[in-house]
Amino acid sequence: MSDSPPEPAIMLRDVGLTLAGNAGPVDILHGITLDVARGEALGLVGPSGSGKSSLLMVMAGLEPPGRGSVTALGRDLGALSEDGRALFRRDHMGVVFQSFHLIPTLTALENVALPLELAHVGDAMSRARGELAAVGLAHRTGHYPAQLSGGEQGRVALARAAATRPELLLADEPTGSLDAASGQAVMDLLFDLRARHGATLVLVTHSPELAARCDRVVRIEDGRIVP
């Protein structure tokens, strides 16, 4: 009798993605097979246009793959409807975008509280306040995104992604639009959050230093994993 290995947090099998372009269909991803272990920090690197962000979107269920299967925490995302995937993200995932995508009409506090409210968490506001304090923004709760600096917006986006204590944290170049100091602070926070909550992290980055902080690095070129 032997122990079976634990199921990966994310499991991609022969994933392909083709999008319609003005000049005809464009192949973005080709037969990607990849496992991300639970608790692992995985870095996705590669040149611009290689398909890293698209791969992350497919993992997050934000983009359904054209071929192959995506399993996250044992759930086949392809079998879920658009709403089913939204509910899955609500309960299990946090996503951070390069341009953060804070909702401009909501304050920092309300942005962070939104996923908690969507999950029907009773004390959403007070928990959101705690999350903002944890990223050093307790004094900025009532500010709108337009009133925050780029680094502050990145911290609010992190707080929002971590608010529901997700098992999966997916981040798409979260420091890409920040200066070195702000970028460093945001990344410290990201790895700190991941360490505190024991989440699985998938990080798209151009930065070799950031990639070096991950447990494993996968390189993507022209939509394929290269050794």
Binding site: R89, R90, H101, T105
Partner: protein
């Protein structure tokens, strides 16, 4: 649900400004409906308040040419608590001896019961009975001050009416039964009917009416009495009117003004809906990223749709409240001025029914125009965050389609109820659907043409940008053509109808009118009358015809009351004449005239235009009630008749044998040199004291006054609607604004000057405006034709200046608004726009 509401409230807090167009457009639509409803309610209240008094009783039974027979009078006496008999006719009052002065007057012969309601006010003050009692054996009369001064009379003076003398007892300064006050042709004179004996004015065949006013016992249902009257005296020619109905002579004015107001309401509604739709699309276009983020965070389609639905609902309520205020308060504030414009009594106030009606319209229109774009919200995919795809396209899911269909059905039902005519309402909705289809085609065609014309843009960056923007797949071209075209088409239709309605009213004013109408020429006087004028060199033409009045009681055996649409020719009595041969100038459009010596079963020649509205053809039968006798005749010919020249125009001509023995008088029209008019007037009235000579100059002036008032009211109302509609078009110019803002930023970062960008914007609007304008012109003409012909029963001619002005003006307004919206991005540094985008 509470989560969605919370999200909605939170979102609204920061986004109220983006709902300005939505609020304005909805408020315009609701205000139009509320205003129309308020004016209608005010008139109804005015009629309810003054109706019975204006009518002279709770009900009035009118007879033409005769008094009530004993059995008819017995019925009235048995039914009513009190009855008053009034005889009405026109005559000439004569004052002075050799140098006599004559003036036309509306005579009312009354009994002791008059007036049943209200009071007659005399100067010097005295009871009416005392005034009419007379002096020294001469009967008394009272007349309006204008008539007294025209005749040079003061109280105590004598004057003549027909062949009898009367004494002016007092000036008549006020009387209650003024239902026909605005439509009479002369000042009023009141005397006792009994005192008309010996005047020669009420002879057999002269033109007079008798009006029996009934004061009904409390709790009596007027409709029941009416039904009983019809049952007891089916072929008597009795005409009934009660205080709940319109007033004598006002039906056509009320019908047309009512139809026009209704149209303004529908137009306001359609244009408001266009604005609402454009506003919601623009708002949602700006929300795509936020919606995608919400989906990323785990919000489901229903939660997102509900949050947006709540926002729309809250803004809708605010827009409706604003619209109700706009459609009510100005009317209340300007009530006296508006009441003076209306030809009917009106009591302005807060009426719940029109406000509730406007509210329900606002809700339905907002729902109809927002459900489709909202349905696409749940289709927005989060992938839109990484690339500009995954936006909402395609058809909404079936529950949304079902909801949209239900709202549309409710709106049609409500509109049918509001306008009271299913045919016109369905025609309007069908017209809107066809117009939308044509506009969609025009929009796509414009895109294709723009794409195919790219070669023309070589070396012309402004044209290249304009063509690229128009040709862009998924761009705002089709949406803008739809919104602009529907708005312009509706406003253009309003312009067409206003132009045609005014033209039809003004066409009623005589151009080549005869100098005089002469009424009440007795058969034994007609030869002498002709002979007297025959040798006069000043007389240019004389037409005379026997004149009877009759009521069309059945067509092809179908009672007039059962004929749908109630054409005007079936309402009230019509002039009827007879002729052995076609009168001079007769143009037959179908059939043939009867032989000169025809003595067979009655035959009839009918006015061609009126025959068309009744669906009459040669071979059909028409039953006319003349002097209480039913004559059923076969229509053997149709004639072209001009009613609008104040000349003689008979709808019905019968063969002479059909009317043999019927007592009647003759009517004549006389055209003479203007310089000789006064002499002829004096000459004729002296020779034939019983006849009534009406100068058409005075009559035309009176008509001009009434028509001028109505035309002004119509112009003001249409002007307000056009102005409000243009406001909505300013908002439509904002369609696709976000897209153009980005184009501007990118083009400017590549070195495009502001002049190039402005030129490209104007070119783009010109291309889109051309496509929308051509369809709008056609839709405006079609809509104008449909409402003019189907609802108002007036002639339609395209009013080109109006059409071009409305469409070109609308495109200019939208272009200027587009330039205004573009000035911000044009003056900003491109980097800031591009940064904001990222």
């Amino acid at each position: 649900m509470t989560l969605a509401l919370r999200l909605a409230l939170r979102d609204l807090r920061g986004a109220l400004a983006s709902f300005r167009l939505f609020l304005a457009a909805l408020a315009v639509g609701v205000a139009a409906i509320a205003a129309v409803g308020n004016v209608t309610a005010a008139i109804e209240a005015g009629l309810a308040r003054d109706g019975a008094t204006l009518l002279g009783g709770d009900a009035e039974i009118t007879l033409t040419y005769r008094f009530a027979r004993p059995d008819e009078r017995a019925f009235m006496d048995a039914t009513a608590a009190r009855v008053s008999e009034v005889v009405a006719f026109r005559s000439l009052a004569v004052a002075g001896g050799d140098a006599a002065v004559r003036a036309l007057t509306e005579v009312r012969g009354v009994d002791d019961a008059y007036p049943l309601l209200g009071e007659v006010v005399l100067d010097p003050p005295m009871p009416l009975a005392q005034a009419l009692a007379g002096r020294d054996g001469t009967p008394g009369a009272v007349m309006e001050p204008v008539l007294a001064s025209r005749l040079g009379l003061t109280p105590g003076d004598r004057f003549r009416l027909g062949a009898r003398d009367y004494v002016l007892a007092a000036r008549l300064t006020g009387w209650p039964d003024d239902g026909d006050g605005g439509f009479g042709f002369g000042p009023r004179l009141i005397l006792r009917t009994a005192d008309l004996a010996g005047s020669g004015l009420i002879a057999e065949g002269t033109l007079f009416s008798t009006l029996y006013r009934l004061r009904l016992p409390l709790g009596t249902d007027a409709a029941t009495v009416h039904a009983e009257l019809d049952r007891r005296f089916p072929d008597s020619g009795l005409r009934w009117r009660d205080a709940g109905e319109g007033l004598p002579g006002t039906e056509q004015v009320v019908d047309r003004v009512g139809a026009f107001l209704m149209l303004l309401g529908l137009a306001g509604l359609a244009v408001g809906g266009v604005g609402v739709g454009a506003a919601v699309r623009a708002w949602l276009a700006r929300r795509v990223t936020t919606i995608a983020v919400m989906r990323t965070l785990g919000a489901t389609g229903p939660v997102i749709a509900a949050a947006h639905l709540f926002q729309i609902a809250l803004v809708t309520l605010a827009g409706i409240a604003l619209g109700l205020a706009l459609g009510t308060l100005p009317l209340l504030l300007a009530a006296p001025a508006i009441a003076a414009l209306l030809p009917l009594p009106a009591v302005f106030g807060l009426y719940p029914v029109p406000l509730a009606q406007a509210t329900s319209y606002g809700l339905l229109v907002a729902a109809l125009f927002t459900l489709w774009p909202l349905a696409r919200v749940e289709r927005i995919r989060p992938a839109v965050l990484i690339r500009d795809s995954g936006g909402a396209g395609g058809w909404p899911r079936w529950p949304w389609l079902l909801a949209i269909a239900a709202v549309l059905a409710l709106l049609v039902l409500a509109a049918v109820r509001f306008t009271g005519t299913a045919r016109l309402t369905l025609a309007v909705f069908a017209g809107i659907a066809v117009t939308l289809g044509l506009l969609a085609l025009a929009g796509h065609a414009t895109r294709l043409v723009a794409r195919a014309s790219r070669g023309l843009a070589r070396g012309r960056p402004a044209l290249r940008l304009a063509l690229a923007s128009v040709a862009a797949r998924g761009g705002a071209t089709v949406a803008t053509v739809l919104a602009l075209g529907l708005g312009l088409g509706t406003l253009s239709a309003v312009g067409q109808i206003e132009g045609n309605l005014r033209a039809s009213l003004l066409a009623g004013l005589p151009r080549a009118a005869p100098s005089f109408f002469v009424l009440d020429i007795q058969p034994d006087q007609i030869d002498a009358f002709r002979a007297r004028l025959a040798g006069d060199p000043a007389v240019r033409s004389l037409e005379a015809a026997p004149m009877l009045r009759g009521i069309i009681s059945a067509v092809n055996g179908v009672p007039a009351a059962d004929i749908p649409g109630a054409p005007w020719v079936l309402r009230g009595d019509r002039g009827v004449t007879y002729a052995a041969t076609p009168p001079e100038g007769t143009v037959l459009t179908a059939g043939a005239w009867w032989p000169e010596d025809y003595t067979g079963p009655p035959q009839m020649s009918f006015s061609a235009a009126e025959a068309e509205t009744l669906g009459l053809h040669p071979g059909d039968t028409v039953t006319v009630n003349i002097l209480g006798r039913e004559i059923t005749a076969t229509v053997t010919s149709l004639r072209r008749v001009e009613f609008q020249s104040l000349g003689m125009g008979f709808v019905i001509v019968l063969d002479p044998a059909a009317l043999a023995g019927a007592p009647h008088s003759w009517i004549a029209t006389l055209t003479a040199d203007r310089a000789a008019e006064a002499r002829l007037f004096d000459n004729l009235t002296a020779a034939f004291p019983n006849i009534t000579v009406i100068s058409t100059r005075a009559a035309a002036a009176r008509v001009a006054e009434v028509v001028g008032k109505a035309a002004l009211a119509i112009r003001v109302a249409a002007g307000v609607t056009l102005g409000a509609g243009f406001l909505v078009l300013i908002g439509v110019a904002g369609t696709g604004e976000a897209e153009r803002r980005r184009e501007t930023a990118i083009a400017r970062s590549l070195g495009a000057s502001r002049r190039v960008m402005l030129s490209s914007l104007v070119l783009r609007m010109a291309l889109i405006g051309l496509a929308a304008g051509v369809v709008a012109l056609a839709a405006g003409f079609l809509g104008g034709w449909a409402v003019s012909r189907l609802a108002m029963d007036i002639a339609f001619h395209p009013v080109w200046p109006q059409a071009v002005a409305v469409v070109a003006g609308g495109i200019a307004v939208a272009t200027l608004a587009g330039i205004g919206l573009a000035l911000g991005p044009l003056n900003a540094r491109p980097a800031s726009l591009l940064r904001a985008r990222e």
